[in-house]
Symmetry: C2
Subunit: 283 residues, 2 copies
């Protein structure tokens, strides 16, 4: 089954548009595992990261449309961290094959190098989807899109404060801002295989409406609710597609660190459920 077929089943059958972001901070998760009496608290970085992720996955998988590990959080721990990432993805594929995995890597390079990044993401880590950067244009996306059963999300409007510096620059041809031109290129030129989506930060809710008008029913990955302050209601109301779906609304820290105590799994589950319900209420 392709990434997008899996996602549509999660939207329809599991009734969830929640993306659970697996961005573990080693110091914080050691404290949580210690509070929970888990011996992995004192294990290697690899084992601690993997043990924490497994418990979060078990606690939230039925509420998750998708899991999204962010690769920097693993790479910062060197090869141990990257081994934990690979084991985490294998665990999800084995234990919860119905929930796909987006590897958030925001890669972007010239074509011959992008092929190697696609190997890293899709072959080595066996991710179902990836995030990529549009600055180098279509030929830098093509090696990822050629993996037709995988999903590719290109950055359009990011969730950070400085997003506006480049992304809001008005493009002379008709005065629209750069991020809207990215949306147009994505919808009209780059998406020849139908496996492209857009990253649209929840912190700029009006922009979700503008891009939805440009991109039709192209799926959006929506970071920025929770710790970054984006409003779920506005993001969903403005970003949903014509069927009332089309979104993967990410929360990382809001779920992973919902509690720093022994009840962290229940708290993570509650946070994921609250997010799912808030999204569904706003559809």
């Amino acid at each position: 089954m392709s990434f997008w077929e899996s996602i549509r089943l999660r939207w329809s059958v599991a009734n969830t548009m929640v993306c659970v972001g697996l961005d573990p901070d080693l110091e914080r998760i050691r404290r949580i595992l210690l509070a929970a009496g888990d011996p992995a608290a004192d294990a290697s970085a690899e084992d601690a990261l993997y043990a924490f992720n497994r418990r979060i996955i078990d606690a939230t998988a039925d509420l998750a449309a998708v899991f999204k590990p962010q690769i920097a959080h693993y790479a910062a721990c060197g090869e141990e961290g990257l081994r934990a990432l690979k084991r985490t993805i294998t665990y999800i594929h084995t234990r919860r094959p119905e929930v796909p995995v987006i590897l958030d890597a925001k890669r972007g390079d010239i074509g011959s190098t992008a092929e190697r990044y696609a190997q890293e993401v899709f072959e080595h880590f066996e991710a179902d989807a990836v995030t990529v950067n549009p600055y180098l244009g279509g030929d830098s996306l093509e090696p990822f899109l050629a993996w037709e059963d995988r999903g590719v999300f290109v950055l359009c409007r990011t969730s950070n404060p400085s997003a506006r510096e480049l992304q809001d620059l008005p493009v002379c041809t008709d005065g629209r801002p750069l991020y809207q031109e990215v949306a147009r290129l994505a919808a009209e030129q780059w998406n020849s295989r139908g496996n492209l989506g857009l990253v649209m930060g929840a912190t700029y809710p009006d922009d979700l409406r503008a891009v939805r008008a440009i991109a039709g029913d192209m799926p959006f990955l929506v970071p920025g609710v929770g710790a970054q302050g984006g409003d779920v209601n506005a993001a969903v109301a403005n970003g949903k597609d014509s069927a009332g779906t089309g979104l993967l609304v990410n929360s990382s820290r809001g779920i992973l660190y919902a509690s720093m105590g022994a009840d962290f799994e229940a708290a993570a589950r509650n946070a994921a459920q609250a997010l799912r319900d808030a999204i569904n209420a706003a559809r």
Copy 2:
């Protein structure tokens, strides 16, 4: 010594602006090592990559201003590849401490995540400099720039054919193309610590002149000569700074695969020397 102090010494004392790109293709290097009778031809991916790199480094270091491994070429081989990358960087630091290392990774993410990428690049891999993507704006660059003794090269004009799709979009305020606005932001806003440079593809030589006029004496990393077809003379003539330096002109495939036979080290050395001389003749 900071990255830029080291580079200035390479320009002045070693009289070279050559950047040797270490982008090994496992299949090709196994063939080369076999032709050269090196037992590493049949070794693990890690050992083969490391053995090849070591021989290239020994053959070219006195001609190199800098070495630039591209991380995707290692990451595509999984953890073995990344271990070879780490060993390669350690080898350069130990054997040739006067030649700094740029890790070409083109990272770009929101601030809290960019901190983790900076740890990956500067702590785990111990690189002296990195390449980054400007699409997310200044707060995504700041965690890299905060490492004051390291260098950061932000993509401005990339060397690939699709570079024009976004980078040439005219920005309304004064009609200049996006890549020139990136150069202006880099020079006027982002470079508060003086450790920022620009990536300027040799395949668009006129654009090097335009950006040099905007960016003053900010250093340029110049990919795209050799396999990608960029002209050395035009790139150097248009891109040099007011002292006739300011450039790191990269060649990867043109040096690594100058010969596929037992003479690959001599051929790599000749290619690096020819590039150094061509650059110096055009200054």
